[in-house]
Symmetry: C2
Subunit: 311 residues, 2 copies
């Protein structure tokens, strides 16, 4: 489709520059709204996610490109948690004067992340404001969305990837230490586990959540939604270098998946396909709804988590 020509004005100049950088990845920008096709027989799946300077990140922690990448992947990760396929992204950006020079680089990061998750950039809004903020909406589709509420007693609990990187990076930055690259990259360049979720859904996954508030906190949401008890043994939890399992279990913004599924998933096939671990961490039972966590056979209470609203 030919692009709609934009009229004059400084806001539109900025949008034109972004669209030029996005190239074929941007589609149909310039109308009042974007038009997308949802394949027959599929449902629309949609989520919105806001990343705010000083709340979700600090300027000295990330490059402008990483800020754009991270906000986009964070939003797409919610679609991964539903086993949906992203089709389109909208970005509502609030850009203070001190950030305007970085807008093209932020746009590059958004574009790279859109490319990675397989979605077109189909619209957005641009505003002045006192603080940099990126509200990213991701649209996708699915023939059978995977919900938080489907976990059943008898399911096993699985997680993708290795945990603790983002929490460790933020702790180091706050202490004015330089984090190890493994940790800082997990914060700055997270991945949305989209194909991974579809793989799991096709093999009988019953419920899924992406880890944004911390593994234990998010399992609490899954347990509440499914009205089940999730029993987690942290012993096997894969952690990035120099992070304890207890710290890894409360590290937020991992964007890994926690999935309830059959106990006999083919771990080797998953790891061969995706190059990251798939680890069985526990079981779902019919006990009191909630999460019970153990480490080395002892019950541990982890109340931490990443509650942005109380920062």
């Amino acid at each position: 489709m030919a692009e709609t020509r934009l009229g004059p004005g400084r806001e539109f100049d900025a949008i034109r520059a972004l669209v030029a950088r996005w190239g074929a990845r941007a589609r149909g920008i310039g109308d009042d709204a974007a038009v997308l096709d949802v394949p027959d027989g599929e449902q629309l799946v949609v989520s919105t996610d806001v990343s705010v300077e000083h709340v979700h990140f600090r300027r000295e922690w990330l490059t402008a490109g990483e800020i754009g990448w991270r906000a986009t992947v964070a939003a797409a990760s919610d679609l991964a948690a539903m086993a949906a396929t992203p089709i389109g992204i909208l970005t509502a950006l609030t850009v203070p004067p001190s950030w305007r020079g970085e807008l093209p680089a932020i746009g590059v990061g958004i574009g790279e992340a859109a490319e990675r998750v397989g979605a077109a950039i189909v619209g957005g809004d641009l505003s002045d404001g006192d603080v940099l903020s990126l509200a990213v909406t991701v649209l996708g589709c699915s023939r059978r969305p995977l919900r938080r509420s489907g976990a059943k007693p008898g399911d096993a609990l699985w997680v993708t990837g290795a945990f603790g990187g983002p929490g460790r990076a933020v702790r180091d930055w706050l202490a004015l230490r330089t984090p190890l690259a493994e940790a800082s990259l997990r914060f700055a360049r997270p991945s949305a586990r989209i194909a991974h979720a579809r793989w799991l859904a096709e093999r009988g996954a019953t419920a899924c959540i992406d880890i944004s508030d911390g593994l234990v906190a998010d399992l609490g949401h899954l347990a509440a939604a499914s009205e089940v008890r999730v029993e987690v043994a942290l012993d096997a939890l894969p952690c990035v270098a120099d992070v304890s399992r207890l710290d890894a279990a409360v590290s937020g913004e991992e964007y890994e998946l926690a999935v309830t599924a059959p106990a006999d998933l083919d771990v080797g096939a998953f790891e061969l396909a995706f190059g990251i671990p798939l680890t069985r961490l526990g079981v779902v039972t019919a006990g009191d709804p909630g999460v019970a966590v153990t480490l080395e056979g002892s019950r541990v209470e982890l109340t931490g988590g990443y509650d942005h609203f109380s920062l």
Copy 2:
């Protein structure tokens, strides 16, 4: 559908309170993403719009409920401009501590506006931040979306409603005067012209834009997109009380529609159906793309407009 149960935490308490206020208007909140059906044979139409304190409004101008209403209607108005029917709304809210007590009232305004435009509230995000910001995404569907780019030489130019209220209200507030209620209500409680756009689309409208940057500025976007010349005579422009036609022509955030359509629309039927004026203001020609404005037979240059990015 039963609501998904939310887990513990202060952010979730705030979301629970909002969802409780929205009642049946909120649907499927609590999963990672919302699931919606797009009717077979229709396309998905989607737009996002951000409203930021100090940029789009000031606290002393609006009640909390009006802030929520206005942000929601502004986003829905972009769907009206495509002659699309809203089906779902997502709200990404950044709420500083000084605004938290007002969050329920903001939610009431969002819910009232969602009710008015006929959409469910299907998701959102809530973050701390230094300034109140509402990023609202509206999803809709249409069998044949109306675009900015369809205007053809020979079409007539039409506008809905009466202009100048928002511009006048903002000027008065900035000068510490109390605006007339007619003007301030047009700013605080705008309407999205959704049914109006469908009426026009069914009667041969070729292109449409909603007036957010100001009538003349937005016609510039329509003219650029359609590669046509739009000749506008402001003489007939309906204005709210105490506003000149020149001021009305550059007043932003009107959320009225400018439409290119046949010259013989049944104005009486429109006005009977909707209770607002439908006014023929000019013609589309094959001249140099752009907008030519006259008042009382003389050419006028109106370069003003509402370019948030340059405030």
